[in-house]
């Protein structure tokens, strides 16, 4: 019998090792897998994991969640679109002191690079970022460009990951998932791009009770489902964004 319902977050994170790449879902207050991040921090501290690359839209707020993960010192590199926020001081400090490397990626290119990884695409040409500072590699050399039908494009590569942590709403033991409102954001795309995808859900339901027409992430993309208590998502921490 297939049973992807994990007894604990630590159990689901058994495969975590040094230097892995982790996709972490969420945008603003919506879809951040807070409980999974807390569980990750506990495992990182217990096993003294180092050298992680974290992919998220942002780079943490305040002291909790992703910021707390950064604070442990286990993250070597952040790949994101919007690191600078009113309260992103943990990232700011680590970045300015050279302890964390930043790869800044336009949000749509970020989503598409993750999608490409999940879809088995080798690389793709995108118009986004052409002619800008972000059409350069970290060493300053230009990324490959090409004119296609009169328009200019930049070659971008997929972002493959070892582990994805995403937040869903409901799941079953085959790993089929549904989401809630705009908390869906990066979840379905990230689920496809990691060797091991761990989804938190607020409800575990019987196999067959999710409407097959409404399942957003088919279980083939999901390794572990962890049930977490429902907590109302809260505001705050995002009010002064540029």
């Amino acid at each position: 019998m297939i049973n992807k319902i994990a007894p604990s977050i630590a159990h689901a994170l058994q495969g975590l090792t040094n230097d892995q790449t982790l996709l972490i879902g969420g945008f603003g207050t919506a879809g951040i897998p807070d409980e999974l991040i807390d569980g990750l921090i506990a495992v990182v501290q217990e096993r003294q994991v180092q050298g992680l690359t974290v992919v998220n839209n942002n780079a943490g707020n305040g002291e909790a969640g992703l910021a707390a993960l950064l604070k442990t010192g286990c993250v070597r590199k952040v790949i994101c679109s919007f690191p600078r926020q009113a309260d992103s001081y943990v990232f700011d400090g680590l970045y300015r002191s050279g302890k964390v490397e930043l790869e800044l990626v336009p949000q749509g290119n970020l989503a598409e690079r993750i999608r490409a990884a999940g879809a088995g695409i080798g690389a793709f040409f995108t118009p986004t970022g052409f002619g800008t500072e972000l059409a350069k590699h970290s060493d300053g050399s230009p990324k490959e460009t090409r004119e296609i039908n009169g328009r200019m494009y930049v070659l971008e590569h997929p972002i493959h990951a070892d582990i994805a942590l995403i937040k869903a709403e409901r799941g079953d033991r085959w790993g089929n998932l549904t989401y809630r409102k705009a908390a869906r954001n990066f979840g379905p795309v990230m689920a496809t791009a990691a060797k091991c995808t761990i989804a938190s859900v607020h409800e575990v339901v019987e196999l067959g009770s999710l409407d097959p027409e409404s399942i957003v992430t088919p279980g083939i993309f999901v390794s572990h489902v962890v049930q977490v208590p429902r907590v109302a998502t809260q505001g705050g921490g995002f009010k002064k964004e540029a």
């Binding site: 945008f27 603003g28 207050t29 919506a30 879809g31 839209n57 679109s81 919007f82 690191p83 600078r84 926020q85 700011d92 970045y95 300015r96 930043l102 800044l104 990626v105 336009p106 949000q107 749509g108 290119n109 970020l110 989503a111 598409e112 993750i114 999608r115 995108t126 118009p127 986004t128 970022g129 052409f130 002619g131 800008t132 500072e133 972000l134 200019m152 989401y179 809630r180 409102k181 705009a182 908390a183 869906r184 954001n185 990066f186 979840g187 379905p188 795309v189 957003v216 109302a232 998502t233 809260q234 505001g235 995002f238 009010k239 964004e241 540029a242």
Partner: protein
């Protein structure tokens, strides 16, 4: 001659006036968000939010906020009947794929060729952040900019070439400002309208570039 600058509300109303029924529109963070307040009641315009919403409605009444239902500026919003949710790759496909009709963005500078600078001041030591700005700039069928024409120091933000790092090249179609509305054409800037009392010649002097009628 004396003239009066448009208020932010008047600028938002001016932009709203040009949005046709049935348009799929993304309103950027900041000033462009206010355009929604000026769309006539009953006009069906479908608002897109790049975090994964089509058919976005206004802010909820106090106490009804749902922080799983937020806009790209991370403020709580509502969903109109017929509204839908989707993931990020689909959301940005709607832009990049040319499905979105209009995108309204703020800007630091726009060049006379329509180059846009709105993501980074390029100051040394500043941590850059881009979000969806570059995707939006080149994604919509039409990108409109909404900004004050002049900086606080009186320099034109419509320029021959952007001095700030660019967000996208030759992507801006119209520039809505507190003094005039301009169209970016292959022949250069064209005046659509200006505030009362401001002539095309005076405007061209303020901007320092030729402006066609």
């Amino acid at each position: 001659m004396a003239y009066t600058r448009k208020t932010k509300d008047q600028m938002a109303a001016r932009v709203a006036q040009d949005i046709p029924e049935g348009a799929y529109v993304n309103l950027g963070i900041g000033m462009p968000t206010q355009v929604a307040n000026h769309l006539p009641q009953g006009l069906e315009v479908i608002l897109h939010s790049e975090n994964g919403i089509l058919g976005m409605g206004p802010a909820p009444v106090a106490g009804q906020e749902d922080y799983d239902l937020i806009n790209a500026g991370k403020q709580p919003v509502t969903l109109m009947p017929g509204g839908v949710f989707f993931h990020h790759a689909d959301s940005f496909s709607m832009m990049r794929g040319g499905h979105l009709d209009i995108c309204v963005l703020g800007a630091f500078q726009v060049s006379e060729q329509g180059d846009l600078a709105n993501w980074h001041t390029g100051e040394p030591g500043a941590i850059p952040a881009v979000g969806g700005a570059m995707d939006l700039a080149i994604g919509a069928k039409q990108t409109w900019v909404m900004m004050d024409l002049l900086t606080k120091q009186g320099a034109s933000k419509v320029v021959r070439a952007c001095s700030y790092p660019v967000t996208g090249l030759a992507c801006v179609k119209r520039i809505y400002t507190d003094l005039a509305t301009l169209e970016v054409t292959p022949q250069g800037l064209r005046l659509i309208d200006a505030v009362d009392g401001l002539s095309r010649d005076e405007l061209a002097q303020l901007v320092g570039l030729p402006i066609h009628g």
